[in-house]
């Protein structure tokens, strides 16, 4: 009884917090499940409501009601605007929309700060509620109890609309099969608009009412977005009840967890999330038969063997390619096309080698960082473009690599190749551990899971102070030597050259693997997973190997970044960097390794050069860059080259169920017996 007594107040707080998250997260889940928009600006909608509510709150009921009306309306309108902005991209898939909403979130966040200032706004609740009531012998704020009631009403109303009305049925039907809903006479555009406006209104209302709980400030949008994403991932998009319990659970972890075990609270969230993801991947997937296709005595050994075999094959297939000019055969390009393909790479190489002679020291060090970010972007490209796993979480292995190198250096291991290899190894091990939760998902679910992996890694980085230095980061570790017995690297141009050599080797290795049969298997798994499975390919194993390889590559990037910067802070491995890397990959065209490098360069240039000319508006500029990239470069920089349709991804085309590949179409003249119908 004593335990309950001591923790009653935080436990009730947790319910209030959880209900708040439920209202917000259900809007996020609705927009994602129905309109297909992974709305990374959803937190901003809450912030719009919270700021409006705080601004209009004057300690009266009228102020609260006025704030509720104004905040809900404002967020509803912003939601409608989001729909207008994202609907034209619907055919381009989830990735483009996620990037667009992230850009809009950056822009919106900047505008909110312009408008309301950079400080947290105070919120005044109505005087009648600005008191405390007795709750089992404890004093408890009356407003929070009132909030619990209002949130329950709001949630119940939303659920009723979704489950009991014709509009709700249309919304759920849109989640099932939007095309058929259109063929039933419902305009997809109206459904899209309605869903995003409703999600906005829910978030706005939650923002006004919840402002005394999660108040309006510069960090509000991100906090709310992250917690809502955690709720949605935990809840699993399937049922409202699951989302509800996930929200309450997260709320309790954030309040009761902090009060019971302050040090463990961030890990509780992590542990719950990891457990749910792993359990779901283990049990909730339809049986595929892969777990039973023969004994797997030593998975790691087989993995190593497979990678080794792949590499040997790569080496074999790579060698003749360099010697013979252009044997006409499948998979080989005529030399003219080969040159045209290689041209951007050659231009890039020449430019990169020539850079130190052309630029000042500061810019050179930026170029070094751009190379590190470029490696991260290449790793994202491998996963997004080749393995079909769009990721927002590659900063996690990137961080593992970076902190490994920093700690190695601090411990006296300062030889470059050793740092690189051990960082890559650590990142690979990390990816091998997180991989199983990622590779079984597809599409936007991967974005959400990887986002969670990245965020929770950031949380761990902030907590594990002995290893990471916490929020202060790491600084003052010894410099790296390029080789055994070499000089310490201090000069910017030396550091740049080191970064360039490492990046060149890593990118070359990546290109070799991607163009080898192993890369073709990966492409096949992305394009026609079911067919690959049916042909006996263990697709999950390929994806896991790709995920581990990409993780190692990100780890190398992290190591390079630490060496070039000579310090490391949590912001270097935060969510923003993850979004940059994804944007770089998308700017590059998602299947172009070289394009990803160009994209990373463009982003670093925007962030550090252009933003320098207009201080304080870096996020706004980046947001504009995101939005512009999504609209203006539908196929990325690679698309500008006008290459063949090879890079065409699996966009949402109306399913041509009747249309098998051209080869099997019955041709009148030479095919005497079409499939199975020929008589004796």
């Amino acid at each position: 009884m004593g335990l309950l007594d001591a923790h009653l107040v935080p436990a009730v707080d947790g319910v209030a917090y959880g209900l708040l998250l439920f209202v917000v997260a259900s809007g996020l889940s609705l927009a994602f499940g129905t309109a297909g928009v992974l709305n990374l600006s959803h937190g901003m909608l809450y912030a719009v409501g919270a700021y409006t509510g705080a601004e209009l709150s004057d300690g009266t009921w009228g102020g609260l009601l006025l704030g509720l009306a104004a905040g809900t309306t404002a967020a509803c309108l912003v939601g409608a605007g989001l729909s207008a902005a994202s609907f034209p991209l619907a055919r381009r898939g989830h990735l483009a929309q996620a990037l667009l909403t992230f850009g809009l979130a950056l822009i919106g966040g900047d505008l909110l700060i312009q408008f309301f200032g950079a400080d947290d706004l105070p919120v005044r609740v109505p005087a009648a509620l600005d008191t405390s009531v007795s709750l089992l012998g404890h004093r408890y704020p009356a407003y929070r109890l009132c909030f619990i009631v209002m949130a329950v009403l709001l949630a119940a109303f939303g659920t009723w609309v979704l489950v009991r009305t014709r509009v709700g049925a249309a919304v759920r039907a849109a989640a099932d099969d939007p095309q058929m809903l259109a063929a039933t006479g419902y305009s997809p555009r109206t459904v899209h608009l309605g869903v995003l406006a409703a999600a906005g209104a829910l978030a706005g209302a939650a923002g006004v009412l919840g402002a005394p709980i999660i108040g309006p400030g510069p960090g509000t949008a991100e906090t709310v977005l992250m917690l809502s994403l955690v709720v949605v991932v935990l809840g699993g998009l399937r049922s409202l009840w699951a989302t509800f319990f996930a929200a309450i659970g997260v709320g309790e972890v954030q309040t009761l967890g902090v009060s019971v075990a302050p040090g463990l609270a961030p890990y509780l969230l992590f542990a719950a999330m990891a457990a749910v993801l792993v359990l779901r991947s283990r049990f909730a997937e339809p049986a595929t038969g892969h777990s039973t296709d023969g004994p797997v005595p030593d998975p790691l050994g087989r993995l190593v063997g497979r990678v080794g075999a792949g590499l040997r094959r790569v080496m074999r297939s790579a060698r003749p390619k360099t010697r013979s000019a252009s044997p006409p055969g499948r998979g080989r390009l005529p030399s003219g096309a080969a040159w045209r393909r290689a041209a951007p790479l050659l231009v890039l190489c020449v430019a990169l080698v020539a850079l130190p002679g052309l630029l000042d020291a500061y810019t050179i060090s930026l170029a070094g960082s751009a190379l590190a970010l470029g490696l991260l972007a290449v790793s994202v490209t491998v996963l997004t473009g080749y393995a079909g796993l769009p990721t927002l979480g590659q900063t996690a292995p990137f961080a593992v690599g970076a902190y490994t190198t920093a700690n190695l250096a601090a411990a006296g291991w300062t030889v470059g190749p050793v740092q690189i290899l051990l960082s890559a190894l650590a990142a690979a091990v990390f990816s091998a551990v997180t991989g199983p939760a990622v590779i079984r998902a597809r599409g936007t679910t991967v974005l959400m899971i990887t986002l969670a992996v990245g965020e929770l890694t950031s949380a761990a980085v902030n907590q594990l102070k002995s290893v990471t230095g916490g929020a202060d980061g790491l600084v003052g570790f010894p410099a790296t030597q390029a080789l055994w017995g070499g000089e310490d690297l201090f000069e910017e141009s030396e550091l740049y050259t080191y970064a360039l050599v490492v990046a060149a080797v890593a990118v070359a290795a990546t290109l070799l693997v991607l163009r080898s049969p192993a890369g073709k298997l990966l492409t096949g798994a992305r394009g026609a997973e079911a067919r690959m499975r049916a042909s006996g390919h263990p697709v999950w194993r390929y994806l896991l190997v790709a995920y581990i390889g990409a993780g190692a590559l990100a780890g190398v990037g992290g190591s390079v970044m630490v060496t070039v910067q000579q310090y490391l802070s949590p912001a270097d491995v935060g969510f923003e960097i993850a979004a940059f890397a994804l944007l770089a990959a998308v700017i590059g065209g998602t299947t172009s390794v070289v394009g990803a490098l160009f994209g990373a360069g463009l982003i670093v240039a925007t962030r550090d050069w252009v933003a320098g000319a207009w201080p304080g508006h870096g996020p706004l500029l980046l947001g504009v860059l995101f939005v512009a990239a999504v609209y203006l470069l539908p196929r990325g920089l690679a698309g500008l080259r006008g290459t063949s349709g090879e890079e065409e991804t699996t966009t949402a085309s109306p399913g041509p169920r009747d249309e098998p590949p051209v080869v099997s179409a019955p041709s009148p003249a030479p095919a005497p017996s079409p499939v199975g119908k020929a008589g004796p």
Binding site: Q179, A183, P188, D658, A665
Partner: protein, 242 residues
């Protein structure tokens, strides 16, 4: 009355249908027969607005509906029963009925027959017994009935049936064709797509054989029933036994 003239359509730059002409008068069944890949579903999708035709026109009772979005075409009076049924997995039968019930517009062209949920359940009593079940938990035959009910509840003047008997038991197949005949009797123009001429001729008033996106044979239903040789020859099939 549905009229298709010079319809060309395809995917990702590859043309599948090459200038197809077709007409389905009210109250008749027009069967389009062809092998996989001949362009049957492409035809259905182009008419229903799920695929934008490259050229040609689709007219509904004289009104040009070519290239309109799917929901406008549906409201204009073209109902789609798609291949694979595509019922909404998470919605119950009752919710399907409520969602798709759309009384015909008062000012627009008159519809041959007006359908309410009650009337549909009279025609398809099995659905009444399954009102509370979700689409995903229905059997194949029930899903087919539900897909048909969904299309009927908008009181369409044209019904597109894309392989409505695919994967159904023989007894159900007969039931579906009886229903098609009933609906045509109500004055609905039915465009039926099927890979099997033997099934299609059961209820067809007109027949078109589609090969590689072109009409290679047009025939009268009675004529084809009397002597299917030409039909089978057009499809390069051996003569049907029995």
């Amino acid at each position: 009355m549905l009229e298709v003239t010079g319809l060309t359509a395809g995917y990702h730059g590859g043309t599948v249908l090459h200038g197809l002409d077709l007409s389905v008068p009210a109250g008749t069944v027009h069967a389009v027969v062809g092998h996989n890949g001949a362009g049957k579903t492409t035809l259905v999708h182009s008419v229903a607005g799920l695929l934008r035709p490259g050229s040609g026109t689709v007219r509904l009772g004289g009104r040009d509906v070519t290239g309109l979005p799917a929901h406008r075409i549906a409201r204009a009076g073209i109902g789609l029963v798609p291949q694979g049924r595509r019922v909404f997995a998470g919605l119950t039968v009752a919710e399907h009925l409520r969602l798709s019930h759309r009384p015909p517009p008062s000012g627009g062209a008159s519809r041959p027959s007006v359908w309410t949920p009650a009337r549909v359940l009279e025609l398809l009593p099995r659905l009444g017994e399954r009102r509370g079940h979700r689409g995903a938990s229905l059997s194949g035959g029930e899903q087919q009935m539900l897909a048909l009910a969904r299309a009927l509840l908008a009181s369409p003047s044209v019904l597109l049936l894309d392989e409505p008997t695919e994967g159904l038991a023989p007894a159900l197949v007969q039931q579906v064709y009886d229903l098609v005949t009933t609906l045509a009797g109500e004055g609905i123009a039915v465009l039926l797509v099927s890979p099997s001429p033997a099934q299609a001729i059961r209820c067809a008033d007109r027949l078109t054989v589609l090969t590689s996106g072109r009409a290679v044979l047009r025939s009268d239903g009675d004529q084809a029933r009397a002597d299917p040789t030409a039909l089978n020859a057009a499809l390069e099939l051996a003569p049907a036994k029995g």
